[in-house]
Amino acid sequence: MSGSDAGEHEIVLKLSGITKRFGPLTANDAISLSLRRGEIVGLLGENGAGKTTLMNILFGHYVAEEGTIEIEGEPLQPGSPAASIKAGVGMVHQHFALADNLTVLDNIVLGTESLLSLSSDRGRARRRIRELGKTFGLAVDPDATVATLSVGERQRVAILKALYREAKILILDEPTAVLTPQETASLFETLKRFVAKGLSIVFISHKLHEILAVCHRVAVLRGGKLVAERDVAGATRAELAELMVGRAIPQAKAEPQVGGAVALHLHTVSARKASKYLHNVTLELRAGEILGIAGVSGNGQSLLADVVGGVVAPKAGTITLNGFELTEISPRVMVAGGMARIPEDRHAEGLITDMTVTENVISESYRTSRFAKAGLIDWAKARAFAQNIIGDYAVKCPSPEAPVRLLSGGNMQKLILGRVMANGPRVILANQPTRGLDVGAISYVHGQLLAARKRGAAILLISEDLDELLSLADRIAVMHRGRLSPPMLRSNVTIQDLGLMMVGHGFEIESADAA
């Protein structure tokens, strides 16, 4: 990216001394940042560095304790998305902020007409959406229901939403987290087109190579502070990585190895849950290996995790755990069979955040003879168990009786790890285990998984982060529309191969009733 083209243009956005506190936590500490017209500025930082918070302040979701914002020289009214939108700020949220059960048109048009108006000009809106789609290569059917769209299409709708309201400054929050490598390249082309038309872009990401690929300048946030601003032209990955993290964190990487005996075997398993399904999935997970499952979000990975975890019973096919074919599928059966399950969503599935640490650590084992006698729970033993986990896994919490919601994301994940790994499990199901964690916590989780692998555990690692899979997995398979590809050795596969498979290349063409 050439920095000089953008350098002569006027400043469209000026953040000065933005400070935001949430109770004792300072999420943004006196951050000042400027953006010029036609410029793409990358906001780089690990999870929890304060990037999204800063942009939420710009968009009006939050109000800063200190600091001012000027857009094209005019002060911006804080705390009002309506004011920010009027000033020309548009935001593509990380989870898109779309109402799934409404149409594309509904989502885009909302808020553009006065609430006191007695009618709505949908014809004109429809035409305008189609025009914008054509101009920027973001075609979507305005009358499609959002729930039926793919993740990439939903992102297009979110972008169109901002363009429809004539955004001059576009904020993109981790836009590539859910895209295939090819879709990411296409997005970058679109962004260049925007910039050519005079838009300015803030690109939030924790992925170094993307920032370097598309941004003119990069601002690095760490622990709520702006630690550096660089022109991308002169910056190196190593320098930015160190600025981002502030210290040398060992990158977890392991030499691929071949697994031993088959610990978990799924044979032609088919399952169905709501609108998601699995078709004829066969996989063999061996002791002492990490089998990675790649795929674009929404292609059945969650359902696969549910089936392996015992939450959803398959409609066809068999599951064999440690040599025994399972006749009953339930979480208890899996846990009793020595499986450790790390769920995708800490808050919704992994922990009961309103209950204490002690209550949470026994959630899978409260009926075993270890903690229960004649239907009564021995709370002293439960507390001791919690203390052990807190100590062994370095979980930072006020006490074992503290409610779990007080813990940070990383500590919650450590608690879950402690709970499921305490008994030396033979099979580990890790579903997006490092999502939303800071670098330190990510490194810790990876370390635990590799240590388990060394002990001979069989690990099924489902992840949307290809980098994670390519550094940890011994073999990798790809999920696409409920089907699982045959696993490939890590050494035989590149990120491009995976990207192509994630959109369906290489999967056999099935008969018409498929998918």
Binding site: Q77, G309, G350, D354, S363, Y366, G375, W379
Partner: protein, 354 residues
């Protein structure tokens, strides 16, 4: 306006806010009383005297509190598991029906055996009534609020049908009432010549049992987990549907006991006006008690005092006794607001609309 979680919750807030809430309810009711021309102070005085001012009054209050302890426990147990049992009224009547079917002569057993049998039957009746909406919830996803509510109306009609039919008292001069229960079925009075009966003791015992279950039993843990987060509970292997079924049995059973003790301890038979809304009032009791079993006892006595006091006051001062219902409803709303305020602070922003 924004809500911000409080870091510290000093005692003066934890106690002060609920007290302020109840005081606010009293003040509002005082205004209503003034509309009727009476002096709020004299009305309040009459109410306090009528509820607590003499041994007779106090015992009457405890008598009135007995069914409220049962329905309060029933609702508290269910609400903990987020099972919205608004049908305690129907379950209470089911318990009363079972009591009257078995206790009017069908089972000629001695008292120490008959009473527990009737208790069990009443609990079974109440449990069965709540198990239907609970089953519909776990199997079909039907919201139990509406089903339990609608069953209240069905239950009252059903009881009316029974009282005019198979359960009719042949010596009742045509009024729809059931036969009286046999002497062995009657709960002994606790104080000679007064209305307070053994049911009060059973109620206290029930509260202690519920407290024990919640703190020590695996079931108590399961009910809490399911109430907080059914998805995470299910993931961990807790059998959510089974837990809800057990909750329904316990909750419905407690409400059934309310009916049983009213029949065998107080009224002696079953009539249509056995319950002047005990099931609904139980909701207020449970919420005032913050779902805590021991708190239910205190809240039930408090609410009973309001009703008993208002009845006595109304006879003298002429203010409609419905003022008690208003007071109770206001206590509920102000109490849940106060409890929220002990957990969150309200932040007013001076600019924007944050």
């Amino acid at each position: 306006m924004r809500l911000e979680p409080r870091g510290k919750r000093p005692l003066r807030i934890l106690i002060g806010y609920p007290v302020a809430a109840l005081a606010a309810s009293v003040v509002f009711c005082a205004l209503l009383v003034m509309l009727s021309g009476a002096s709020p102070f004299s009305v309040l005085g009459l109410m306090v005297k009528g509820a607590l001012g003499s041994q007779f009054a106090f015992l009457e209050t405890l008598t009135r509190a007995t069914p409220l302890i049962f329905t309060g426990l029933a609702v508290a147990v269910a609400f903990r598991a987020k099972l919205w049992n608004i049908g305690a009224e129907a379950q209470l009547y089911a318990g009363a029906v079972m009591t009257v079917v078995l206790g009017t002569g069908l089972l000629p057993l001695p008292q120490p055996i008959l009473i527990p049998v009737l208790m069990a039957a009443a609990m079974l009746g109440g449990a069965l009534v709540l198990s239907v909406p609970t089953f519909l919830k776990t199997r079909f996803g039907v919201d139990e609020v509406v089903t339990t509510l609608l069953l209240n109306f069905v239950a009252v009609l059903f009881v009316s049908m029974l009282l005019e039919g198979p359960l009719k008292d042949p010596m009742g001069l045509g009024w729809p009432q059931s036969r009286k229960v046999i002497p062995e079925a009657q709960l002994p009075k606790l104080v000679e010549g007064k209305r307070l009966h053994f049911g009060f003791v059973i109620a206290i015992a029930a509260a202690l049992v519920v407290w024990f279950i919640e703190r020590k039993a695996a079931l108590g843990y399961e009910m809490r987990a399911v109430g907080h987060n059914p998805k995470a509970a299910s993931f961990a292997g807790i059998p959510v549907s089974l837990v809800l079924a057990k909750t329904a049995l316990l909750s419905g059973g407690l409400a059934g006991l309310a009916g049983m003790t009213e029949v065998t301890g107080l009224k002696g038979n079953l009539t249509l006006d056995l319950s002047p809304g005990f099931g609904y009032t139980g909701i207020v009791v449970a919420m005032l008690a913050l779902l805590h079993p021991m708190g239910v006892i205190a809240a039930a006595i408090f609410v009973a005092a309001i009703f008993v006091g208002a009845d006595a006051m109304s006879r003298t001062a002429g203010v409609p006794s419905y003022i008690a219902h208003v007071m109770v409803a206001l206590s509920l709303l102000s109490m849940v607001t106060a409890v929220m305020l002990t957990r969150y602070r309200i932040r007013w922003q001076s600019y924007g609309r944050a």
